[in-house]
């Protein structure tokens, strides 16, 4: 168990900057999600914490010890690979035992620890099986047991659930979180799946083009994204662009949008607002009553039904605003209908520094 600190880490591959001055403190015992599109540098960062790659500059500290130049086998980390990388020539138990056995621990101790780890991932009875006799979810559990049985200082997961199908993935998210809590190990995982990051992580770092865009608890990033990228990459967001005013922004057609805090850039500059689709209320233009929040008029261009919810696409002077509505039995709006959208000032996230 240890805190992991990455400070000012940069890494270039030829002319491409894979990581550009990234600093993150991964809290002791926390479950940290590194989120970003492919090529954002999240995997490079994970492999550097693991010790498969070394930074050009900057420092990596695990539990107070600088490890930038320490090779992977001496770092005492545990890692779960995207395709699990189970040793095909060994049984499940031997796979889990590998890390203890290369350390030269006593046979009896190894057997006891292996059994404990397999019980923890609920595979206690499958020790004698070979990896190819297991399902994808079971392999995932074996890989996890193998990574934590050595009591590493930090657990690294590289897209841990991407090889599983949807239903299993949701189960494993819960399971992974339970095991992580139970062991209390500092965990860093890489994903491109925002839902995975939101469900599992207690802190998220969003990377883009080798830079850290924003980091913090999932709710904080979701509620207060500091950039259009963060707003749209983590969750869905409508971006409204315009001119900064004292109290918010003014759209091109003159509509004023109020936000809780005025832009620091000062009036006159460019600014934008993000509004989550589920925060917007949609009513037909005929039923509209005046409200003190923000308001926009538009026309429904499309409605997509998704079981428990529907998404309305509302056009207003060339822009499209998405609105997510729970299917609670109230009257449905039809395509082509004139509507009014309203949402509160508090739901309006002002984004500065474009």
């Amino acid at each position: 168990m240890a805190e992991v600190q990455v400070a000012g880490v940069s890494r270039s591959f030829g002319a491409t900057k894979a990581l550009d001055d990234v600093s993150i403190a991964f809290p002791d015992g926390g479950f940290y999600g590194l989120l970003g599109p492919s090529g954002s540098g999240k995997t490079t960062l994970l492999r550097m914490v693991a010790g498969f790659d070394f930074p050009d500059s900057g420092s990596i500290v695990i539990g107070g010890e600088g490890v930038e130049r320490v090779p992977v086998e001496k770092r005492r980390i545990g890692m779960v690979f995207q395709n699990y990388a189970l040793f095909p020539n060994m049984s499940v138990a031997d796979n889990v035992a590998f890390g203890l056995s290369v350390r030269g621990e006593a046979k009896a101790d190894i057997a006891r620890e292996v059994q404990r780890a397999l019980d923890l991932v609920q595979l206690g009875k499958l020790g004698a099986r070979r990896p190819h006799q297991l399902s994808g979810g079971q392999r995932q559990r074996v890989a996890l047991a193998r990574a934590i049985v050595t009591k590493p200082r930090v657990l690294l997961l590289d897209e841990p659930l991407s090889a599983l199908d949807k239903a299993l993935r949701v189960d494993m998210q819960v399971e992974l979180k339970r095991i992580q809590r139970e062991v209390g190990i500092t965990t860093i995982f890489v994903t491109h799946d925002q839902e995975e990051a939101l469900t599992m992580a207690d802190r998220i770092g969003i990377l883009r083009d080798g830079r850290l865009v924003q980091e913090g608890p999932p709710e904080e990033i979701y509620d207060r994204p500091q950039s259009e990228f963060a707003a749209t990459f983590l969750g869905d967001a409508n971006i409204l662009r315009g001119e900064a005013t004292e109290s918010g922004i003014r759209l091109a057609d003159g509509t004023a949008i109020a936000a809780t805090a005025g832009p620091k850039a000062g009036p006159g500059g460019k600014a934008s607002c993000a509004v989550r689709p589920e925060r917007i209320r949609i009513v037909s233009a005929a039923d509209a009553a005046p409200s003190d929040g923000n308001m926009l008029r538009g026309r429904v261009s499309k409605r997509i039904f998704a079981g428990n919810s529907s998404t309305y696409f509302v056009d207003r002077s060339g822009e499209t605003v998405k609105v997510l509505v729970r299917n609670d039995g109230s009257r449905k709006l039809s395509e082509g209908q004139d509507v009014v959208l309203c949402w509160s000032v508090e739901s309006t996230i002002l984004i500065q520094g474009l």
């Binding site: 693991a50 395709n83 290369v102």
Partner: protein, 262 residues
Amino acid sequence: MALTRVLEWLGRIYIWLLLAFLYLPIVIMALMSFNVSPFYQLPFEWTTRWYVALMGNDQLITATWNSIRIAVITTLISTVLGTAASLALYRYEFRGKKFLQALLFPPIAIPWLITGTAMLIFFFAIGIGRGLHAILLGHVALALPYVIVVVSARLQTFAPELEEAARSLGANQWQVTRRVTLPWIMPGVIAGGLFAFAVSFDQFVVSYFLSTPGQTTLPVEIYAAIRKGFTPEINAVSTVIIVVSMALMLLTARYFKFGGEK
């Protein structure tokens, strides 16, 4: 339907003719090694006297032991060196790697006659000369490319994350190689070793160039014996060699077949 049946039968006949073409001479030779008449005369009368005579033929026996010793040592050296070379080519990036890999194939295609001549001249020039040690050196050089090609082919199917996983669990380079990489490529290593053994044990041309009268291998000795005058002991020793070679080749085939299924 009728046509299909006819084609099927033609196919079967073809296979049997092919096998007969391949194996009939060998079968006849093996039978004649158990025949009383030294001049291939019939009727066939069973005897093992040529095998007994073979036991008393010191030159053939010595040559056989030379062949076996050289083949075994060649196999050991070229398998170890070749596997190490394949691992190095697999793991590391270095200047001239592509060139080096390309250079591995031509020796397989160069006629042994030319390789043998070149080795003879070279060994004389640098003072190694001829003899069993020269034959051994030559055989290792001939066998190495086969081992490297076969082991490298097997390594292509190896997932590099396995080595990374082993390292992340604290294994050092040697533990990674011994416990993860080698078990995976073992079918390739064994197949490569069998190739090396076959290349050495069946080698005539290069051995012929590099042997001296007292220090020679079985194929060269057989050739010398035939020139002096044919004896059925040669049938006997050839039968022994064929049995050994075929057993080895069947083993190789087995490892190639099952190699990919793990």
